[in-house]
Symmetry: C2
Subunit: 325 residues, 2 copies
DNA sequence: TGTCGTCGTCGAATCGATTCGACGGACAGT
DNA sequence: ACTGTCCGTCGAATCGATTCGACGACGACA
């Protein structure tokens, strides 16, 4: 229709060779007239690039799903601004899904969400030789790009915050025990840092396991609060439990911060969804997603030249919502 | 490696022509040995099928995101069991995203989530001539496959439930006014059915608009409760508001069901995430997703032969959680 | 006037699968 | 022994883009 060869059209589209203004105009007109859109399959066959990133979301049985959502949305948005679409895979067998997507060439790269130590998806990723980035820190990170929150700094900040206000006896509610056992490194990275910091500065800190499913959550929290009647501070590191806390404290007649100072770790969105009024470390899922995708796309574009593989720990800032005294 | 032609391998894989056991064995061995996986791009180029469904998630500014998640998960799972992967698109300009995915042949079909009346994505879908299914009912459904909850039956059930218990004065909290204005048909389908049913059987029903963002939610609920002091029943049709309700009622010292009977409309998952103790119509996002995907894949496979286009309203069942008396 | 570079365009090869028609061999029926 | 089927396999065409080498036209320069 434009009276030129297909190669000329391709060059007009990609700009990889110069094109006379006249020809470019005719090509553009024809494209508009014919409503032409390049076929993704053909393009990916030829270029071995798809413009799609695989997002592997792992819903461990007892995962608190809304917490995952905070990551998914910013990731898809950031990816889009960089020209990528997101193929979301939520299968139980994440390793198999990853392999399938990678080997068949459906994706240019992979994002692994909520990675734990010993995560089978990590082995699968290593085996595919596809660019990938982990959100969540496993034990062995050799040759991997990893992004995670700096849970150690977060825990220290919260402990310091309470100590500065004069608290001498606080309770920490961690994720459930099986999250520790399963390899959720954020659980012990946070707890151990909190415990250590507390002992450094002479704070009595009682670390307890939380629960992640109702009705166990309520029973567990009641028990924890009953058993530490003298504690004046509460550090919540457990999404499902902190979501239930406001109602539970009301039931117990505990006023925050008058009777109890509460601090936690969650995102602004999470706080909004669950009307959480607590001073908290901002877990910055948006920033994490952005860093992860940026890193991944650079790895896709430049391979090993994009710099050394490594772990990026995102700094944690505290948002004061007035729940401490 | 198997000593056969490529076409034979293809037939061995697809089973579209018979293959001798001997040859099949050699092909399988070679495939395993070489770790061969068909290339998705090449396959989709040749067959014009991708094995991918586009999922268009629309986050209206004030959408309550966790509510959306209930739909996304079952959809990806159902799709997978039927052999499809999910390309998730969350862009603001959903119509553009839809067109891009469809025209470039990235997907075999489209799922539109949270469709409203006058939704620009519906026009875009019509323009592409791609199979698609809507979750959420627009005004004009000609030629479309639509799946939605039967909000009319749901509203009637809840009204009847309260009336049978002897309530004579109840309040309905609907979605925010701008959801009505914007074309969220579920909002008025539910409200109008409730109002009509109430008038049929002589129940005083005060319909109010809710809010969807804190802190407006709390102020709004307090106001609504203050202005209907004699109401003995509360019907909540508003995800964000009902999520805040348990805490708010505690603050007001209102006991459920002793002082107030509360019914609502949400899913089991939603109830779990937000510890909601109210008797409610089960909104069945899992079933809706399943029906939608099943319908879509049949449309993909059989086109217009898959039966007439139409709207499937999924029946709503009540789950008694003991919040009424 | 002849040579060389640059610019814009074209033709052909290529990516990796699927599928159609053809074809040779085995076997049954007469 | 001949014909006709059926079965298993192959070769070649095809899907729709990208890209490399080639080539003609044109201007610059000697």
């Amino acid at each position: 229709m434009a009276g030129v060869s297909r190669s000329t059209v391709s060059y007009a589209l990609s700009g990889k060779r110069s094109i006379s203004p006249e020809t470019r105009r005719r090509v553009d007109d024809a494209i508009r007239e014919l409503k032409f859109t390049p076929n993704a399959g053909a393009r990916s066959l030829r270029t071995a690039q798809t413009g799609v990133l695989g997002l592997l979301v792992q819903f461990h049985e007892d995962e608190f799903a809304p917490a995952m959502l905070q990551y998914i949305l910013p990731i898809t948005e950031t990816a889009r601004t960089l020209g990528y679409d997101i193929l979301m895979m939520t299968e139980n067998d994440g390793a198999e899904a990853l392999t399938r997507a990678a080997e068949s060439g459906m994706v240019d790269g992979l994002i692994l969400l909520d990675v734990i130590d010993g995560d089978p998806r990590v082995d699968a990723l290593r085996a595919t030789h596809q660019p990938g980035v982990l959100v969540g820190l496993p034990g062995d990170t050799r040759g991997l790009d990893v992004v995670d929150l700096d849970f150690v700094a977060a825990a220290r900040n919260l402990v310091d915050h309470l100590v500065e206000l004069g608290h001498r006896d606080v309770v920490l509610v961690s994720p459930p025990r099986h999250v520790f056992d399963r390899g959720g490194t954020y659980s012990w990275r946070f707890r151990d840092a909190a415990v250590q910091r507390a002992s450094e500065i002479g704070l009595k800190l009682t670390a307890r396991y939380g629960e992640s499913q109702q009705p166990a959550i309520d029973a567990n929290l009641h028990e924890i609060l009953d058993e530490s009647p003298d504690a004046t501070g509460l550090i919540m590191h457990n999404d499902a439990s902190v979501a239930a806390l406001p109602r539970l404290l009301h039931e117990r007649g505990v006023r925050v911060p008058d009777d109890l100072s509460v601090v936690s770790l969650y995102s602004r969105d999470f706080a909004r969804w669950f009307s959480l009024p607590y001073t908290a470390i901002e877990s910055s899922p948006g920033l994490l997603g952005k860093v992860a995708i940026t890193q991944l796309t650079q790895r896709i574009a430049h391979g090993d030249d994009a710099g050394p593989h490594g772990t990026r720990l995102v700094a944690a800032e505290i948002v004061d919502r007035g729940s401490t005294r």
